[in-house]
């Protein structure tokens, strides 16, 4: 049988024998990976999308980073201290930090980077609202002065997920936070160098090892520790079709798929050349979001009735299927994390339709149909809305489920129009656990009315708890605040957590070293 590959090899072999091809240098170790999406935007501060966050971890470094146990550890920072009155934080950078263009990383760069990040990130905004200002002391040292003690300084600067406070050169960090940085400004001090000349949107993005990078001496641990790069080059190949991704992995054309899709996992599990690796043990959380401004969800008791009516397992079975990849977990701050607690949750998420009906009657539900937005094009979300519809109807709600693609939903969820005139009552989405580790970080707990995320809950008590949590510096007291908040929130929900799920990556058997972290990172990864 004719084979192009064999013919090509034959020609190359013949040419080699004839001395036509000079001896090539040893082939660079290249890791070919298909990520969950193509990188279209290069600025991880301009958008909160996860693919840009992952791109950010390749190119830029962070002052602090979170380890496997959710402890924040210094990364670019050599040492830091806080004054006795807890108002002045002093940070000193490590020696030898260098941008990819060879210039040294300075305290000025870091101050400008924190300012730009804080202009976009909700946790950064909260921290800077309590801050008096940032001050450069010398080339390697800067201070953060607070107006009042603030308990989340390290958690904010070591925030693991979007938006991550990546450190950028001052010139880049001075870009208007509402504008993207330029292609030529994708210069970091991180473990990989972005190859702008090889970036072909829709085809691939290329990173090469930063040979000048000086990793920390500690072993890699989560996102913290030494970022030792063990391959020469990483290519993220854009391949939208999951079936094609799996075929390419089986054929050895690529080394790894970040997110292979749950329905294809049994096929991959059978292949002895492929391993499934659960790199993110806390996984993700499905969430039902209320529009708290629209009747009847402006009534807390009716929102609570939904909490009582829902049962997580139905959602998880319908979307994920295999119990190996999901977990029933009532804790809104994610099971397996320091602030996980079931406080106040005993009577909710048990699928108690009778109790929910009774609550609806007491609350005076008038039969207004619930406009439930149903996204149909993202496999991990598609089956959630039909389950929610069934559980709501069992509890006595009338439901108008409106199907649409995810981008239409994204556009519609920011509209405050009445639900029957282009607005909405509810939709379901998913959060990476690393985004919702505490009530300040978790965007859906923000209940500051118009300043809150879509759904716009307006609840002074929740805001009071969030402020207390942010200002509290004692972790034990922080946990107590979370428990109190949770007991209140169950009766005044802004959203409902409907289950925890996990997505393993699939890699060829010759690939190893993926770190346990909330973000897929490529230092420490080896290819034999």
């Amino acid at each position: 049988m004719f084979s192009f590959r064999k013919s090509a090899l034959a020609i190359v072999a013949a040419a080699s024998v004839g001395g036509l091809i000079a001896a090539a240098p040893a082939q660079a170790q290249t890791l070919k990976v298909v990520m969950h999406s193509d990188v279209k935007i290069l600025d991880p501060i301009w958008t909160t999308a996860y693919i840009q966050r992952n791109h950010g971890y390749m190119v830029w470094d962070t002052l602090f980073a979170m380890d496997e146990k959710f402890d924040v550890k210094p990364q670019m920072v050599e040492k830091y201290d806080v004054s006795a009155d807890k108002l002045t934080w002093t940070f000193t950078l490590r020696d030898g930090l260098e941008w990819h263009d060879g210039k040294p990383v300075t305290a000025e760069d870091c101050v400008a980077s924190i300012k730009r990040w804080a202009a976009r990130d909700s946790m950064g905004q909260k921290m800077m609202a309590s801050a008096e200002g940032l001050e450069v002391v010398d080339a390697k040292t800067f201070k953060l002065k607070m107006k009042e003690p603030y308990g989340l300084v390290l958690q904010s600067l070591g925030k693991p997920s979007s938006n991550v406070p990546f450190m950028m050169p001052k010139k880049t960090a001075e870009t208007d936070p509402m504008q993207q940085i330029k292609l030529e400004d994708v210069i970091g001090s991180g473990p990989f160098v972005f190859k702008g000349d090889e970036w072909k949107p829709g085809e691939k993005i290329v990173y090469v090892k930063n040979t000048k990078y000086k990793p920390r001496s500690e072993p890699a641990n989560g996102l913290a520790g030494g970022k030792v790069v063990k391959v020469d080059r990483v290519e993220w190949i854009a391949m939208p079709d999951i079936q094609t991704q799996v075929g390419a992995l089986q054929n050895g054309e690529i080394d790894m798929i970040e997110s292979p899709g749950h329905d294809l996992l049994p096929l991959l599990a059978k292949d002895k050349n492929i391993k499934l690796v659960s790199f993110n043990p806390t996984g993700n959380q499905y969430t039902f979001r209320f529009n708290s401004t629209a009747k009847p969800f402006d009534n807390a008791k009716i929102r609570h009735a939904v909490f009582v009516a829902f049962a997580q397992e139905d959602f998880l079975k319908a979307t994920i299927g295999d119990p190996q990849w999901f977990k029933v977990c009532k804790a809104p701050f994610v099971c397996g994390t320091p602030l996980a607690t079931d406080a106040g949750m005993a009577d909710v998420l048990n699928g108690n339709a009778a109790k929910a009906k009774q609550l609806l009657t007491e609350a005076g539900y008038d039969g207004t149909p619930i406009v439930l937005m149903h996204s149909t094009d993202l496999q991990v979300l598609t089956n959630l809305a039909p389950v929610a519809k069934a559980q709501l109807e069992r509890a006595g709600f009338k439901v108008d489920m409106v199907s649409m693609d995810w981008q239409t939903l994204v556009a519609r969820r920011v509209k405050k129009d009445p639900p029957n005139a282009g607005g909405w009552h509810a939709f379901l989405t998913s959060w990476v656990a690393a985004d919702i580790l505490n009530p300040v970080m978790a965007g859906f707990f923000n209940a500051s009315c118009d300043k809150a995320m879509f759904g716009w809950p307006c609840d002074a008590t929740i805001e009071k708890f969030r402020d207390q949590f942010a200002k509290e510096t004692d972790p034990a007291k922080q946990k107590q605040i979370v428990e109190d908040l949770q007991k209140y929130w169950v009766n005044h929900p802004t959203h409902i957590n409907v289950g925890q799920w996990y997505a393993p990556l699939a890699r060829r058997a010759n690939i190893d070293g993926n770190l346990t972290a909330p973000v897929p990172v490529f230092w420490n990864v080896t290819k034999k």
């Binding site: 909700s122 979007s162 829709g202 094609t244 054929n251 556009a411 920011v414 879509f454």
Partner: protein, 313 residues
């Protein structure tokens, strides 16, 4: 002839004008907000509003149209909302895979479909005829992505002869380019072969009953000469027309085929742009497709004169 070409080229202008207005309005009137897509899941309403303002999406729709069309007339197709690149740059990067796929598909399809269509006509009612017609029905009925997955399974995964996906530029490595073009071109060819072979059969059948064919046979010409020189040439006009119309099928098919085989071409750019509501990119790509479609049909019209001397413009 030159007068005809000039008139046809001038006629492109209103066509493109209508396409421009239609695409612009369709995008603005269908649901979807690029600013919300760009901002990401964690964004607040204020952040989304800021981005909308920066992109000029908060301007009245007619102002947006006037700005866009004004820029297009000056050769400026704008900058993608997502990629920090101009749309012209993006298209330039993506045009080669689509062009290669289209050319390979056309070559595959025409070189297979015309001979089998002629054979089916010549052997009307025979097993060959029935097989060609059966294949034709199958080719119309089976979706392209199903054919693509079947070819991938057999030739890439089971036999390991060809790669599953990807594209290597022709200038980088010809063999790698060729082996990556085989499966996508075959996939896209199937529907095309079905269409052209059916029309070829019908056109040739019609011509075979003409007096001049009988005369040619009476002169003692061989079957091959009768078929190729007399029958096929006279049947060529409808076949060329179908090939021209098929360009539209090819453009639509490229969208699916490029996604299945991971080809970074214009088809996939269109899908990505539509899914992310990248208005400047969608508008320009649709305009480009319209120009290509109109120009190819003009070339087809001109080529009629090569096959039928009675046609004069």
């Amino acid at each position: 002839m030159l007068d005809f070409i000039a008139r046809r080229l001038i006629a492109i202008i209103p066509v493109l004008g209508v396409v421009a207005v239609f695409v612009f309005l369709m995008l603005r009137l269908t649901p979807g907000d690029p600013a919300a897509v760009i901002a990401g899941d964690n964004a607040t309403s204020d952040q989304i509003a800021d981005i909308r303002n920066k992109l000029g999406l908060d301007e009245p729709i007619w102002t947006q149209f006037a700005i866009w069309i004004g820029n297009v007339l000056q050769g400026n197709f704008g900058e993608s909302f997502f990629f920090k690149k101009t749309v012209a740059e993006l298209i330039a990067q993506r045009v080669e895979p689509t062009l290669a796929l289209a050319i390979c598909t056309l070559v595959f399809a025409v070189s297979i479909s015309v001979p089998i269509g002629v054979m089916a006509a010549y052997r009307q009612g025979s097993l060959i005829d029935k097989a060609v017609m059966g294949f034709s029905v199958l080719g119309f009925s089976v979706p392209g992505f199903v054919i693509g997955y079947c070819l991938i399974y057999v030739f890439a995964i089971e036999l390991g002869w060809l790669p599953v996906q990807g594209y290597v530029r022709i200038g980088v490595n010809f063999w790698q380019f060729a082996e990556r073009m085989v499966l996508p071109s075959l996939t896209l060819s199937v529907g095309f072969v079905a269409l052209i072979s059916r029309i070829t059969r019908a056109s040739v059948l019609e011509v075979l009953n003409e007096d001049y064919i009988r005369t040619a046979r009476a002169k003692g010409l061989s079957n091959r000469v009768v078929l190729m020189r007399h029958a096929l040439r006279n049947a060529a006009v409808p076949i060329l027309t179908v090939i021209g119309l098929g360009i539209a099928i090819l453009i639509g098919g490229a969208v699916v085929t490029e996604s299945v085989f991971g080809l970074p071409g214009l088809g996939r750019l269109t899908v990505e742009a539509v899914l992310s509501r990248d208005f400047p990119t969608i508008q320009t790509v649709i305009l480009l497709f319209s120009v290509v479609y109109v120009v190819i049909n003009l070339l087809i019209d001109i080529s009629y004169t090569l096959f039928d001397p009675r046609i004069r413009y």
